[in-house]
Amino acid sequence: MAEKYDVAIIGAGHNGLIAAYYLAKAGKKVVVFEKKENVGGRCVTEEITEGFRSSVCLDDISLFSKKVFQDLGLKNKGISAATDPLAISLLPGKALIQWRSPQKFAQEIATFSEKDAKEYPKYHEFMDKVAKNLGIACAKTPPDILNLPHSDLVDLGKYWLKLRKMGKRDMLEFLRAASMSARDFLDEWFESDALKGLLAAKALMGNALGPYSPGTAATLFLQHILSYHSASLGHPQGGMGKLSEALEQAGQTYKVEVRKENEVQEILIEEGVVKGVLLQDGTEIHSQVVASSLDPKTTFLKLCSPPKVSLKLRNLVKNVKSQGVSTKINLALKELPHIALVQGAEKEALLSARYFIAPSLEYLEKAFDATKYGRYSENPVIQFILPSFIDPSLAPKNKHVLSITAQCTPFRLREGSWAEHQDKFADIVLEKLGVFLPNLKDIIEHRQVLSPSDLEANFSLNEGHIYHLDHTMDQLFLMRPIPGSAQYRTPLDNLYLCGAGTHPAGMVNGLAGHNAAQKILKDWKG
């Protein structure tokens, strides 16, 4: 006799755990299956070499939803408030420091462009206005564009009214900007390459998109909206794994059962209706609902037997853009690296910031160009943080870990494999970093390079995409992951998606898990 649950969740990533929490809290009997021995999915702290631990996959929770943070009572779990500054862009001989306060940031911008310094607070205000009015859309199930039931028309009407609240000018400005390229949008506001490069790099990270591509301005809005409604968190003490543990603990209050080292082999489907899951060890688990926090491709194409999913759905999912372009490099360092541009009284604060090498939009676009031809960029876009500076427990005394994300490195290389190329690419990244961190090369004790291919293998990310799917126009909001299935509910009865591949976005924010749980509960009543 198979075991029975109300909801079986596949994958104990943060979204899976958050969905489990809300469902269990509403009285459902919930089980979460996790392939690995630790929870967290992309949000894990693992040892890179003896004595050194790091957030080996994702390392940023600055967009984590305030609502989810409060609902799950994460405040007292050692997850700290964000650092100030938010980001630092390293440029030849100069750094651009993005302070939390737009005014203070404007002062920094002034050293690059007086004009931009004046414009920036206005830009920030406009973006805040959009975020304030449209934030609600991120914490709700998007309308079903294919069927447009009455309730969704009402929602659309509400969004339109929200837009109108911004005033005629700003509303039209937003509607116009939403489909623009990041370059065209930022060019209209600013002249400084450094500023534009930094803003675009933050928004485009993880995506196979260049800032010249139409629709990329939307990623600027998305990033700002999520940030506006975030809990303003910094890198957690104990790394990203700490967050995941906190989420697991929150679930335990409501008896969420997390079964680790229990891989789901197949989703059980009978005549289009999902009945449960089959585990690798042959156990069948029956449940009313199955929710997958894995990406849509893995969910529909790997976990479902092909004849049981309609060709139409399979083709739509197959065509979803999910090519990972990021490579993660984790370094174990003998000592604190010297960042040439960081000096003075504020050094402490500066060292806990997130760093970018993204000097201009042209630089970003050129890095992206290579992707289109299945090559990796010789001039990659790089971001890094020093987690051990924030939390010394991550490394032996006086030693450090450096967490680097670099792109563009397409998963599908035209020539050769990542196993052959990843060290060459890591060398390029370290070379680039060496310009700003002169002693870096001499202090590396160990390096861990995770190419898109490794990210796929280690974190169950289809094609190694750290956000499951690109944040392109056709894969956001009511089209994420595919039109007609953006409501977390899928065409297969009783199967839901609750992962990064669903609305609102792939960056760690927890809203997909939250929204999916609400949708499941709503449908349950019906």
């Binding site: 564009i145 294919l146 447009l148 109108r164 005629k168 000018r169 509303m171 039209l172 400005e173 509607l175 116009r176 900007a177 939403a178 489909s179 623009m180 065209d184 209209e188 010249y212 591509s213 139409p214 629709g215 139409k312 083709n315 739509l316 065509n319 853009k321 042209e362 676009e365 050129k366 160009d369 289109k372 031809y373 392109t472 126009m473 056709d474 089209m479 595919i482 039109p483 007609g484």
Partner: protein
């Protein structure tokens, strides 16, 4: 100056949209005057004998989407318009192979099957799907866009109609429509086909006249345009025009004149005469002033609002938006007079394959590389070329045995990172000929005359800002209710009685005539209220 000279409407700019606008206004009984700066009407749709004995369609070179309704209403066939069908779409390749798509479906199927059996099977299904989606999109092209920020009752009706039609589509078509509006041509075609050369030759319609690559999001939408013709009942709306593109303009002009419109060429306008926020007439460069109840501008938005009016008549926000409106011309044109017919290595001889359009677009990578070269401010060294040899179908444009060749070239960005266009013009022309010579080596030996038009030349000669052939990029943020300026997409302008009837208004560029037609309807509608 004489006050007596009062017209109902003055149309500034005798391009095809201006002429269509004038013809419809005249047809409904208005007294109309068209003012054209050049010595001939037509704007970018002109035929000129640049080299003795050879007639070039200097700028635009084929009719694609000229609204059938306009052809019927204005009786353009009676006024001389003859569209010659293009039988083949030929794409040579460097490896000795080629792809030829014919108007004969079976022949095309077999030809595609030579490259991929699977694609041959899909090709027909793809066309059907595109036609279905076009059925939804076409009425949008014909409607006046809503204002978006506030909703008027009559617009509610239009919007509701759109919604009803959308819901009338099958789930598949809805999905396809949503995808095609946002995806890149490359991604969209990848979902259907596997043959590079087939995808490439189809994808180019998504980039013509834009400064985007085939892999840029939002380029898929234009693929639909190719299928719009089919719902008009015409098998293929693509065609050459007998006597060159000037015939289109001349036939519209003839229709306008027959309805009583007056057309003056070599009459450049200096500025609009605006009194108390109302357009009352135009001042000519020669100092004359002509008055009219309505002014309709067939020029692009920049030339209309910045070029012909003083800034004091607009609020800053409007002017700011006009200045931000993107032109960025990205294409050039090379016209050749040839001593003989070009001979393609992969398909020798003067066969039917040359009697259509010839595309140098052998692969998606080729096209994307051309874009990548250009987007940082240089012309493509190996550009996309769209070539027609009108003299093969129309003996009136060249002496017997000799030919004219029209080469549309992309990309040639208006803004160069280094140097100026007058300095680079010939180098650009050389790059085009060198590219073509890779496929048709005899080309260099048979050129009698070469005319190279860079975006800069197009701006100088034809008055199209930044050389954009569509009066502004056809990118999503400049389409529909956003074209040219959000809130001003209804052909009206902030100045009372001044209207915009050019490609800078919805639905945009191409020798389509829709903006001219729509604007005329709006002018007449407003007239009733007077």
């Amino acid at each position: 100056m004489s006050k007596k000279n009062v017209y109902d409407c003055i149309v500034v700019g005798g391009g095809h949209n201006g002429l269509v606008n004038a013809a419809y206004l005249a047809r409904s009984g208005r007294k109309v005057l068209v003012l054209e700066k050049r010595h001939l009407v037509g704007g970018a749709a002109v035929s000129e004998e640049i080299y003795p004995g050879f007639t070039y369609s200097v700028c635009s070179y084929v009719v694609s989407l000229l609204r059938p309704q306009i052809i019927r209403d204005l009786e353009l066939a009676r006024h001389g318009l003859e569209v010659l069908p293009m039988d083949c779409s030929f794409t040579p390749m460097l490896d000795g192979n080629y792809l030829a798509r014919w108007s004969d479906a079976e022949k095309t199927r077999r030809e595609i099957a030579r490259h991929s059996k699977r694609d041959a099977e899909v090709y027909g299904e793809f066309s059907k799907e595109m036609v279905k989606i076009s059925k939804f999109v076409k009425p949008i092209l014909e409607m006046t866009p809503p204002r978006a920020n506030e909703i008027h009752l009559s617009e509610m009706k239009d919007m509701h109609g759109m919604k009803t039609r959308f819901q009338g589509l099958g789930a598949d078509q809805k999905t396809q429509l949503l995808k095609i509006m946002t995806m890149s041509a490359s991604e969209y075609l990848d979902q259907w086909f596997e043959t590079e050369v087939l995808k490439a030759t189809m994808a180019v319609s998504g980039i013509i006249g834009t400064f985007l690559g085939v892999k840029s999001p939002s380029t898929a939408y234009v693929l639909l345009h190719h299928y719009m013709g089919e719902i008009d009942g015409a098998f293929r709306s693509w065609g050459l025009v007998k006597g060159g593109m000037g015939t289109v303009s001349n036939s519209i002009a003839a229709a306008a004149r027959e309805h009583g419109a007056e057309i003056r060429t070599s009459t450049p306008v200096d500025q609009f005469i605006i009194k108390k926020g109302e357009a009352v007439g135009v001042a000519l460069e020669n100092g004359d002033e002509i008055y009219a109840k309505v002014i309709s501008s067939g020029l692009d938005p920049y030339r209309t609002f910045i070029g012909l009016a003083e800034p004091e008549h607009f609020d800053d926000s409007f002017l700011d938006q006009v200045k931000r409106y993107k032109f960025r011309g990205s294409s050039g044109k090379v016209n050749l007079a040839l001593d003989a017919c070009p001979d393609f290595t992969c398909f020798p001889g003067q066969g039917m394959h040359l009697q259509g359009d010839i595309a140098i677009a052998p692969s998606m990578d080729y096209l994307e590389t051309a874009y990548d070269e250009a987007k940082y401010g240089d012309f493509s060294k190996r550009p996309y070329l769209n070539i027609v040899i009108p003299s093969l179908s129309d003996p009136t444009v060249a002496p017997p045995g000799k030919h004219v060749m029209s080469i549309f070239v992309q990309y040639a960005p208006y803004f160069l990172k280094e140097g100026t266009w007058p300095e680079k013009r010939e180098a650009f022309g050389d790059a085009v000929i060198d590219t073509l010579a890779q496929y048709a080596p005899n080309i260099k030996d048979i050129i009698l005359h070469r005319q190279v038009l860079t975006p800069w030349d197009i701006e100088q000669e034809f008055g199209m800002t930044q050389g954009n052939i569509f009066h502004g990029e056809l990118s999503l943020e400049q389409l529909f209710f956003l074209r040219p300026v959000p809130g001003w997409a209804q052909y009206r302008t902030p100045i009372k009685n001044l209207y915009l009837c050019s490609s800078g208004a919805h639905p945009g560029g191409g020798v389509m005539g829709a903006p001219g037609y729509n604007a005329a309807q709006m002018i007449l509608k407003d007239w009733k209220g007077k």
